[in-house]
Amino acid sequence: MALSDNTGERRIGAPFAAFALGSLRTLASVAVTMLGLLFVTFVIGRVMPIDPVLAIVGERASQSTYDAVYEQLGLDKPLIVQFLYYLGDVLRGDFGISTLNARPVAEDILRVFPATLELATLGVIMGVVLGVPLGVVAAVKRGSWVDQVARVVALVGYSMPIFWLGLIGLLIFYGILGWVGGPGRLDIFYVDIVPQVTGMILVDSALAGDWAVFRNAFSHLILPASLLGYYSLAYISRMTRSFMLEQLSAEYVTTARVKGMSEWDVVWRHAFRNIRVQLITVIALSYAGLLEGSVLTEIIFSWPGIGSYITTALLAADMNAVLGGTVVVGLVFILLNIFSDLLYKVFDPRAK
């Protein structure tokens, strides 16, 4: 009895130790990657042709004011010390003060980020809901018209400039048909009615029970979200198709078919089950891609998210804001990557 307990424990213990070690290794590599990310943004900030002191004191400041601010910013210290200062600031969540509006960059980012999150989340949901079934059917009925449609959808998605498609969408659905709300998150009439809880207007208005605001927000959100959804659909359906093809050619599928299992069960209960982990990885990556893809979309739709924030700051040469935004998007990107990596290791026994 004792013996069998022992082996049972070992069976659970050994993979757990391996997992912990693997996690530790992942954590270390994450730390190095993040350090690298911060170093790159730091270097970008230092090679800027803009004088950060002049940006603060203005051109008519005296030499002594200039020198004081120069020292205050730590620019008289060696580069490596400056980097450590920067590192310390970022770790404390301090991205400096925006030269454009004199507010802390971190606060601004916190304010605009939910708008991007709302957009990207709805986009990825659309991509998954449509893309996964499309990919599965394209694989099962390979060479059929569904497969051809899926192929064209993906090809067009990979080739279309997103900002242009957004403009055309606005022209057709807002300008001509009037089916959706125009640029911005809400009509001016509905702004600031519901209390801000999450910063995502759909969620906030649902929490407040104000369905008029919800409908209006949705009519503004649907077009940019479909646009992003289309891009993730192109990627997700392509990947789903190739994962499914790999499974469907495996021997266990033939066995299941020979045993007389229904096609539905073969596809969804056998083959699809085995691609779920890979699929979640793909979805996480596509989510990360949407956060980035939202930069151009946000410009087109005057969406006050992080993409608009970075570009506005860029054109106004507000370097703290640009770097702060870049770091945040980079961090989210890395975290999503790691999340999908870990998921893979935990749930897919083949990856061990």
Binding site: T33, V40, V156, Y158, F163, W164, V295, L296, F333
Partner: protein, 303 residues
Amino acid sequence: MSDQTLRQWLLSDTPTSRRHARMAAFYKGWLSFRGNSMAMVGLGILVLLGLVALFAPLLAPYSPFDQDLANRLKPLGTEGHILGTDSLGRDTLSRLIYGSRITLYIVALVALIAPIAGLLIGTIAGYVGGWTDAVLMRITDIFLAFPRLVLALAFVAALGAGIENAVLAISLTAWPPYARIARAETLTIRSSDFISAIKLQGAGPLRIITKHIWPLCISSLIVRVTLDMAGIILAAAGLGFLGLGAQPPSPEWGAMISEGRRFILDHWWVATMPGLAIFTVSLAFNLLGDGLRDVLDPKDSGQ
């Protein structure tokens, strides 16, 4: 040599020289590529684009910079301005034709810089191994972890707007996948027998990398480059659209969309035409890339 015998010479099973074998392999690849009609369409569009760019001054009815305020925002099909005019009365067709030069220029430069940088880093990491490998690959991972467009934006912010800086920014974000591919190829090649044989003959690492490893990495890099071209075009157009790439009055397609954006509701064609041009060219690169992948790299053709 007549056509028939040239064909037989190329398809011969027993090549008589190294050059013969190489040309025969190339010809067989071409034959299978030619059977892929979508890829041929892509190739056709790109050849056409090259010709348009080359003969732009002959083909364009007007100068891309000449303003004619009396004829601004003319619709499609206007006499003398088949694709209409923009807000300053410049002929859209002429601007598109000259814009093809800018697009090709950007694509060609990025397609040179990024894969060469990736090839260098990847082969060195793969061949030398050890600490060099660890450090180089960690740097590659850091760049890979960055969202590309945002990184390019930050680089352009630091370097200043302009075509050359846009090219540099896109290249800086595009090299890591090439480095990974080159490293993976190097790792498999480096332990093969023929490399040991060359080593015994006294070849140094430089000679092995440049003469024996690089040539074998080329084909997978070419496939990857072709598939990346569409992304490069879209990234360059995006930077142009944001006002960070080519500067006005340059007829860069992304910048043209940005100019037309203000009139999208009343004069839709101004922004639509350059968008169609971008779409056509990146679609052509995608089609060509798919076809090349089937010929050069049958193992991952996704079939």
